[in-house]
Amino acid sequence: MKHVFFLSFLIALGMLSSCDYVTMPYPKNKVIQGGGTGFVKKVLLEDYTATQCTNCPAAGIIADGLRTANGGRVITIGVHIGSLSQPSGTVFTQDFRTTAGNNYNNLFVNADATGYPSGMVDRVFIGNPAVYFLGTGNWVSSVNSRLMTQDSAFLTISNTYSSTTRTLSTKVLTTSVSPLPNTYRLTVLLTEDSIQAPQKDQDSTQLPNATVINYWHRYVLRDAINNNHSGWGDTLTLPHHPSVVGDTVSKTYSYSIPSMFLTIPCNDKHCYVVAFLYDAATYEILQVEQQKVY
């Protein structure tokens, strides 16, 4: 009898010894996931810019600094808008404007009236009189202030992409980490980093007209993936209303990344999916996440 039991334990030991070691976690059909790192508030800084705005590169430097200084907790988007983004002459032939960017400019910024560059930090309605847009002098303090706020949701982005067909399937998982009492929308955008194109820059020594021919445009808004390119996203319905901690909803979108947006080629290796959750009434962004397409 003793031997039977010992034998049973040895068999059990052999069975339990099954451990799966994975040396290469990434599948060949590459899927990339971002976010979901826990309860960390991330901040969206939207840099409303234009290729023919001479002050705008200085704003881009501030945005770059905030992004790199905060270890992934600050996500930036360059949104080209207004009349200074219209193609002009023989140098500025490219148009970075988008339907979503135009909608944002019309509602929040109106840069032709209020000036370039301008920015929004989590679309917080602030000041006296209250406005959404901020001058560059307020970006650092606003971002730091938002970084101190408690998050109420977190987002996880999973991208499945075929570079052959340029088809993207992006899954955004939203998880409530505190009760969400209002109506919220989820916007999913496509951005592209490091596009070389002309840019006016008052600090540049390149002539003529302070134009930098091979300027690096960073994290440029290229399109809105959901809700018909509008940028307003979809209403998000969580299992409970108000939501409870742990409520989760998953949204999956299919999108074909064009090889060109208007006349500007799109390098899919530099593309990112940016998703943000915002309050439908106030537009304030609760949480944002970004993930490379592949």
């Binding site: 334990f9 059990a12 030991l13 339990l16 070691y21 599948p27 996931q33 970084l147 101190m148 999973s158």
Partner: protein, 554 residues
């Protein structure tokens, strides 16, 4: 699935009834009906809306958690169950605790060398570094295993345990399967030649494996079977005790570790010396990516297989528990030292009854690591350690001095000074919040008016410039033994930089006890914070209302 569980539960009840019937019908011999024991607990709270303390609005106005344990034993046979009800769960408990049901039930029988349990069970291997299932109602924590457990004692000094099951997650069971085996050998019992030796040595070894299928919708190639093993030793000789355990876990990408493939490790060691009037203990631990769950997508306290001990003093007073440490399973290193000393009776400081002194120091930091850039981390190791025993960012530190002095048969004093450092950004997951440095003083006075009447005063103060600023707290408790007690308390955030938030959190409690029953009624405000037991925590939201607690056992 639910039907199976229902049948199982009904089977237990029918079996118990049959056994009772057999006992009753046994006319020719003394009836052995066995014994039924149990206990009941209900906590119910009525919530008042209170925007001043940012208490969440509770649409149902009340919450209720209730439990009934029922255990039947007869000779070597035992069976039991627990009925639970969350209608709705009290604020601060995970809302996935909802409804009522019997999630815990078991049948067990024991022979001289064998114990077999089917159904639900709690188990621990060693210190729990690779397996510990347990229940803590205050935390809303229950990771019981549902399946089979066999304990086998093949010969003197050898103890074997095997488990196979799925884990409870709120009102259902998790998707993973947990298998484990543990062997412990007491050398002094095993070898008769060592039986009379003063040095006692126990060796132990455990292995746990979890299996979870891959739904195929994830991002990475994940291991379906993840194994963890541990080795431990306990040496005891006279006044000295030493124990050490090391655990290792293979690649286990999960939501808790951001899906990295780095192996996990945990090292825990403690040494102690005790003699009459003096106790010294020193403990240390190092945890590296040792979060181990039966569901790779689980978060917070859900479906944890193992338990990583917390090496900081378990405090009982409210201000000392204001900023409690929470174990960081993804990585931390720390140690704790404690000395207790009793100054003898009849000395200048000892007085007529002696004086107990306690000094405790503990510190916990992150590991000294370096993040790997994604481009250079194709195997997703996530980070690498700069030095194995290096200390990184400080998470928590606590220094305590406690004096426990009885002045007369009727008067006793406990006085505590503590200095704490608390990394709220890491422990409560609120990046950007500054480190909190606090100094705390506690005085606890008990005066016995008569054999049945006593009064207790508790005065506490917490000084800090950070977070919500300083607090003071007071409590008066009047006990009419053995039946009744009345208490009133207040916590005042007088040091808050925002004057509107300098709030009094008052509370009144009335309790009545008879036999093994207790009814307690409390009314007042509860501040928001976190509640921790042994390094495992849950968030407690602010609340204002009436709480009724009923506890009974039989």
């Amino acid at each position: 699935m639910k039907r199976t569980y229902l049948i199982f539960t009904l089977s237990i009840l029918v079996l118990c009834s049959c056994l009772l019937t057999v006992g009753i019908n046994a006319q020719n011999q003394p009836a052995n009906l066995g014994e039924i024991h149990g206990n009941f607990q209900m906590d119910m709270q009525y919530y008042n809306p209170d925007s001043s303390i940012k208490a969440p609005v509770v649409p149902e106005k009340t919450g209720m958690n209730a439990f009934l344990n029922l255990n039947y034993t007869r000779d070597n046979f035992s069976a039991g169950m627990r009925y639970e009800s969350y209608l709705s769960a009290l604020q601060g408990f995970d809302p996935r605790y909802t409804g009522s049901g019997i999630l815990y039930r078991f049948i067990s029988y024991t022979t001289q060398k064998l114990q077999i349990t089917v159904g639900s069970f709690y188990e621990q291997f060693g210190n729990g570094l690779i397996l510990r299932t347990y229940e803590d109602r205050g935390l809303g924590y229950d990771n019981a295993l549902e399946g089979i457990r066999i304990k086998f004692n093949p010969r003197k000094g050898v103890y074997l345990k095997g488990i196979y099951g799925t884990q409870r997650t709120f009102m259902t069971y998790g998707p993973g399967t947990v298998r484990g085996l543990d062997a412990e050998v007491n050398l002094n019992e095993f070898f008769s030649a060592l039986a009379d030796k003063r040095t006692n040595i126990i060796l132990g070894s455990g292995f746990v494996s979890k299996y979870q299928p891959d739904a195929g919708t994830g991002t990475y190639i994940v291991p379906l079977n993840v194994g963890a093993w541990s080795e431990r030793i306990n040496i005891h000789r006279g006044k000295v005790n030493f124990q050490c355990e090391y655990a290792y876990k293979i690649n286990d990408p999960s939501a808790a570790n951001d899906f990295i493939y780095k192996p996990g490790e945990a090292l825990f060691a403690t040494a102690s010396y005790s003699q009459k009037g003096l106790g010294i203990s020193l403990s240390g631990k190092r945890i590296d990516n040792m979060d181990f769950r039966s569901d790779r997508n689980a978060t917070i306290n859900n479906l944890e297989i193992n338990y990583l001990p917390c090496l900081t003093r378990q405090q009982t007073y409210s201000m000392l528990n204001f900023y409690p440490d929470a174990t960081q399973p993804t990585g931390e290193i720390g140690y704790e030292a404690e000395v207790t000393y009793k100054i003898k009776k009849g000395t200048l400081l000892g007085g007529e009854y002696g004086t107990n002194l306690l000094v405790n120091f503990s510190t916990v930091s992150g590991l000294d690591t370096m993040q790997l850039k994604p481009a250079q981390d194709s195997s997703r190791m996530g980070y690498k350690n700069r030095s194995y025993f290096g200390f990184g960012q400080k998470y928590f530190e606590d220094f305590n001095i406690e004096i426990d002095k009885k002045f007369s048969p009727n008067f006793k004093l406990i006085a505590i000074y503590a200095s704490q450092v608390y990394n709220k950004a890491v422990i409560q997951g609120e990046p950007g919040t500054p480190m909190i440095y606090s100094q705390i003083g506690v005085t606890d006075l008990v005066y016995k008016i008569s054999d049945t009447l006593s009064i207790r005063f508790e005065l506490e103060h917490l000084y800090t410039r950070e977070d919500m600023g300083s607090w003071m707290s007071g409590l008066v408790e009047f006990t009419i033994a053995p039946k009744m007690f009345v208490a009133a308390s207040d916590q005042w955030n007088y040091g808050n930089s925002i004057s509107a938030d300098r709030i009094h959190y008052y509370n009144g409690t009335l309790g009545y006890i008879w036999g093994t029953n207790r009814i307690q009624l409390s009314y007042g405000k509860q501040r928001a914070g976190i509640y921790c037991v042994g390094g495992v925590c849950r968030t407690v939201p602010a609340s204002n209302g009436l709480t009724l607690t009923v506890i009974s056992s039989f």
